[in-house]
């Protein structure tokens, strides 16, 4: 079994702040992490390797600093790490990103055929969930999104059965390998790499491939040129014109505050009062 896990280094969104005057993102000091959703994908690939043997390759596209995220994945137990990094990729949207990653995976396949590609369900910075499907379509792999469980894999027969979170229920799907799976969050728990993994990770180099090494001949197929979408404006959300009406009483006793609040709300929104009494009362 050879699994390729696509990961992305993202800023820890919980710590992003917007500059109050310039309305731009303040990136300084925001720690970079492995996209948390991708760790469920990596863990699933490592579990399959535990069961069936084989190789787990982690792959990322990003600036040189993204090497740190791949190192982290090696320490968790991945065997091999490839960073595709080139100035030509700057400004890539999801379509151009899936183009570059698909090209890289084709290149990886020249050395070792790929049975499974894993991604997280989405990233926490872009939130698009588009790159996984994009890679699958470009490689003509079967696509299984929002997988909640891998039920069975038979490398010999090239078959896989997974449970997939669908609207209103769970689909049990069977398909052919190779395929691309996007893993749902909460489906497993990331292991701690053991000491052997840590030592091995320290010795394993992260391979850095530029555009040509990734097998992309035309620079126009990636970066801004290869991206049909263009960001025309970035801005902070507008504050609402009016702030909340703060309810106060002479002593600010909770019971009195609650009664005063209800009176205010229901006087200004009599319809809400009627609907509430109708449904609950």
């Amino acid at each position: 079994m050879h699994s390729v896990v696509c990961i992305k280094q993202v800023p820890d969104s919980a710590q992003i702040r917007v500059h109050p005057v310039t309305n731009t993102i303040m990136r300084q000091g925001v720690p970079a992490i492995v996209n948390p959703y991708d760790l469920f994908a990596l863990e699933e690939a490592l579990r399959l390797k535990d069961q069936l043997g084989g190789t787990v390759t982690v792959l990322s596209m990003g600036p040189p600093m993204a090497e740190a995220a791949l190192r982290k994945c090696l320490a968790f137990g991945a065997d091999d790490a490839i960073l595709v990094s080139d100035r030509a990729f700057a400004g890539s949207d999801t379509l151009a990103t899936s183009f570059a990653l698909a090209a890289t995976i084709r290149k990886i396949q020249e050395n070792m055929p790929v049975d499974l590609i894993f991604t997280g369900k989405q990233t926490i910075d872009g939130d698009t969930a588009q790159v996984g499907p994009g890679i699958a379509k470009r490689l003509d792999f079967q696509l299984l999104t929002y997988a909640s469980k891998i039920v069975a894999v038979s490398p010999a027969e090239k078959r896989i059965t997974v449970e997939r979170r669908a609207e209103g229920g769970v689909q049990v799907l069977e398909t052919r390998l190779p395929c691309l799976i996007t893993m749902l969050e909460g489906t497993n728990e990331m292991r701690f790499g053991d000491m052997a993994d840590l030592f091995r990770a320290a010795r394993t180099p992260v391979k850095v491939w530029d555009r040509e090494a990734a097998g992309i001949d035309d620079p126009g197929s990636v970066g801004l040129k290869g991206s049909p979408t263009v960001v025309s404006k970035v801005f902070a959300p507008k504050p609402r014109a009016k702030r909340a009406e703060i309810v106060e009483t002479a002593d600010n006793d909770p019971a009195g505050l609650a009664v005063t609040l209800l009176a205010k709300v229901f006087t200004q929104h009599p319809k809400l009062d009627r609907e509430l009494t109708k449904t609950v009362g």
Partner: protein, 360 residues
């Protein structure tokens, strides 16, 4: 790397002449086992505005297994504002699968050439939209919160939250068609249905055969919906956040919710701390809600949370910090200790309802 950090475009970009003939606004009408996802009707409401701004027709795309149900769905789509529906039926479309739906929708786009194609950002819609956009090689903007036609270029300007909702960005697809967008359920308002409206149905045959479709559905296990929270469609939501200090205090949220017949919501930090299930998380990485009344207790109102509940008709906020951002966009506020205010509210609402019962 990221679709959100590019330098703003300055010069005007011309449409590729290949797409000059692309016309009309389409909404994919998502239905599974005959049930239409309400986000499709919300999108028709939004699509109507875009089609009117462009002076073009609004079409629904209805796909599924053969049977009378699809024609009935088309009629409903007309009631919600569609001028026509493209109907593609095939036995292979009985359950949602990526391959036949991608092939089918791509074939329809190539045959009838719409300038805009919108889908709900559901699990199905996201799976399908990403696949169709890649197959067509066009631009797709996920989770839009605002869609506007630029008057001078007739391009679609799609605005979406980015970086976990800390910022908004407006994205254009200037050279390619269709311009694709997904919108999360409850972000757009549900339009009024007009059963008297009618439209025409264009049936389109699909050529594929089941044997050529690789992925098979072995089983569908329907969710047990009896105890499942359904926040996006709840009329009243009482939500708790980190200001409640301890997991056992979250019970106070439940008590108020019980009196109001409300659903219980939660902010991201308390879901991550395990005080509430993931299905209850409101915000950018959780559910978008549109209740008539939203009570936020001990929630600071970070933008991640705000983008999920801004559409509520009435927002009441309780927070002990008078400078908490939630007071910037709530309608009513109490500055105080949520652990004391919540039980007082529970009592006040019970008394109010009891009185209304007596009077009624």
């Amino acid at each position: 790397m990221n679709d959100t950090v590019k330098k703003p475009a300055k010069k005007k970009v011309e449409l590729d002449p290949r797409f000059a003939g692309y016309k009309g606004v389409w909404v994919f009408i998502e239905n599974e086992r005959g049930q239409v996802h309400p986000v499709s009707w919300e999108l028709l409401g939004e699509g109507r505005k875009l089609a009117d701004a462009l002076g073009v027709e609004l079409a629904g795309v209805v796909m599924g297994p053969p049977g009378e149900r699809l024609a009935a769905i088309c009629q409903e789509a007309f009631a919600y504002g569609a001028d026509l529906c493209y109907l593609a039926s095939h036995p292979a479309l009985a359950d949602y699968r990526n391959e036949p739906y991608t092939q089918g929708l791509t074939a329809l786009v190539n045959a009838y050439q719409p300038e805009i194609l919108m889908l709900g950002a559901s699990t199905l819609g996201r799976d399908l939209a990403g696949s169709v956009a890649t197959t067509l090689g066009t631009g797709l903007v996920a989770d839009c919160t605002e869609l506007v036609i630029e008057a001078d270029t007739r391009n679609l300007a799609s605005t979406r939250p980015t970086f976990g909702g800390s910022l908004l960005c407006t994205i254009m697809t200037q050279r390619h068609r269709p311009q694709m967008a997904t919108v999360r359920p409850r972000v757009m308002a549900m339009p009024e249905a007009d059963p008297a409206r009618n439209g025409r149905i264009v049936e389109h045959p699909l050529a594929f055969v089941e044997d050529a479709i690789v992925t098979k559905v072995l089983e569908f296990i329907a969710d047990d919906t009896r105890d499942k929270p359904n926040l996006p469609f709840a009329d009243i939501i009482v939500a708790g956040g980190r200001g409640l200090k301890r997991p056992e205090n979250f019970q106070l949220v439940w008590e108020l919710a019980k009196v109001l017949g409300a659903e219980v919501g939660a902010s991201r930090p308390v879901v991550q701390a395990g005080w509430a299930e993931l299905d209850r998380q409101v915000g950018q990485s959780g559910k978008t809600v549109r209740p008539k009344l939203y009570i936020a207790a001990g929630i600071s109102g970070a933008i991640q949370h705000r983008v999920g509940m801004d559409g509520a008709d009435v927002i009441i906020a309780i927070n002990n910090d008078p400078n908490a951002p939630i007071f910037d966009f709530a309608h009513f506020g109490i500055v105080g200790n949520a652990m004391q205010i919540l039980p007082a509210l529970t009592h006040a609402f019970s008394a109010h309802l009891a009185q209304a019962r007596k009077a009624g």
